[in-house]
């Protein structure tokens, strides 16, 4: 209407000018008020998202702490329940009265004590190996994973195989340990929950990306399930995987194969990221 009046030379200029100016001013003030309120709304929404993310991180951290505590409790229980009584028994065999006993009994007691100490050494070695697998430390991730899969296959309960396609250069030791723990956790989950008849692990690289893929034919989870479990209070192992991968800036994807027969888990890491991480450390 106003534009029509502007185009028409016979129109009343003061009226158009008055309403035009008032209209533009009202629009501007309206826009400013809208911007102020909308901006605050947007910020609140972003903050809420940030808070959710923080809560998620907190949950992961709690899971990781709980897992550490559980591990400590397990080691403490192993030492207290197994190593403790064994050493106490050995001490009984080697008491002060031993010198007053006859030679045959003395020899028998020393032999028994030696046996018990050997058992204790083996037990402590087992505990130590469970904390840091020697194969991983000495020969790297490929050997440690092959070793783990051979043990699983050897048990006869499941067919497990692994193949590293491109692992000529070893990753940093601490990163190898993190990846190994993630694989261990995934394999444990498959053994416990999936009823699978086989697990197959493959490793390969593409550019600066490092991939590890696990296939199995049992019951598995998809990414939606994983996200759901991550947000809930259950699924401690999965949260532990997530928090470990966060350290490496890695990603994990759970999916069902195209053929709908297999479940696939893909771990994706950026090689450069790992180097950076090590340098910072």
């Amino acid at each position: 209407m106003i534009l029509l009046q502007i185009a028409n030379p016979g129109s009343s200029v003061p009226t158009v000018l008055f309403f035009g100016t008032i209209g533009m001013l009202s629009l501007t003030i309206g826009l400013i008020v809208f911007i102020i309120f909308h901006q605050r709304k947007v910020i609140r929404y972003q903050m809420r998202l940030q808070k959710l993310e923080q809560d998620q991180q907190k949950m992961l951290l709690n899971a990781s702490i709980r897992l550490q505590e559980e591990e400590r409790q397990r080691i403490a229980a192993d030492l207290h329940d197994d190593a403790g009584p064994l050493l106490a028994t050995a001490r009984l065999y080697l008491n002060e009265n031993l010198v007053n006993l006859d030679k045959t009994t003395q020899l028998q007691s020393i032999y028994n004590a030696k046996q018990i100490i050997d058992d204790t050494i083996q037990l402590i070695r087992n505990i130590s190996h469970s904390l840091m697998p020697p194969t991983l430390k000495n020969f790297g991730l490929e050997s440690a994973v092959n070793d783990l899969f051979q043990k699983i296959s050897g048990s006869g309960s499941m067919n497990a195989s692994s193949r590293f396609h491109d692992y000529r250069e070893r990753l940093q030791a601490e990163n190898e340990l993190i990846i190994f723990r993630v694989i261990q956790e995934l394999v444990n989950n498959i053994l416990k929950h999936s009823n699978a008849s086989f697990i197959h692990l493959t490793q390969n690289t593409s550019g600066d990306r490092f991939f590890i893929r696990l296939h199995h034919d049992g019951r598995g989870i998809t990414q939606t399930d994983f996200d759901k479990l991550n947000k809930s209070n259950v699924g401690l192992g999965l949260k532990n995987i997530q928090s470990r991968l966060k350290v490496l800036h890695g990603k994990i994807f759970f999916e069902k194969d195209m053929s709908q027969t297999y479940y696939k888990v893909t771990i994706e890491l950026v090689k450069d990221d790992e180097h950076k991480l090590t340098k910072v450390d």
């Binding site: 502007i6 200029v13 003061p14 158009v16 000018l17 035009g20 100016t21 533009m24 001013l25 629009l27 501007t28 003030i29 826009l31 400013i32 911007i35 102020i36 909308h38 901006q39 605050r40 947007v42 910020i43 609140r44 903050m47 940030q50 808070k51």
Partner: protein, 215 residues
Amino acid sequence: MLPSLSRISSILPVIFFLLFLKRNRIGGFWVIFVYCLASFVTDKVYGHLSNDTERFYVYFSFTFVEYTLFTLFVYLSLKEALFRYILLLSSLAFYLFAVFNVIGKKSEGFDSLTASVEDILIIIYSIFFLYEQIKGPAAFFIYQSKSFWIIIAFLIYFSSTLFLFIYGKSFEKNSTYWVINNIFDIVKNMLFTVAFALKTNKKQQYTMENTYADT
């Protein structure tokens, strides 16, 4: 009375800029400082001119300088490359348009067309800035940002004077309608003054603590 007040009001932001020089040194606030000085000088010169041709060229030059300085300020405040690119392209188009518009034209008291196009462009640029602020807020309270007050000053002044400039050609130099320009010129200068006087409070930056303290 009002024209004199409007003329004097452009000195106020200059004083506040110099008074709080330390806090106004950052960003492109010096552009607005230069604009206020240019505005004051132009008003002074314009008042002493009696020839329509001289008035036309002085006003045209001022429109040119005003557009350049405001666009430069918005350009310095924008972060998005696309908006900056649009600003450069439309500025080139504006300069070409303004020059072609003035060449061969019978010089009159006020170049209505150039001023109106300038108005529309500055309003659009201001909306770009506000849009960017919505998308990626830099401060929790937008009104804690100096740039926000400057942009609001542009927006209020140019939107209020758009119709005045469209019809400007048909008014006498001393027409009462120019009161609109004087009023909003004062408002604009007041808003510039607020921007220059504003303290950038680090506590008001966009942080989670502030958000939840506020709710």
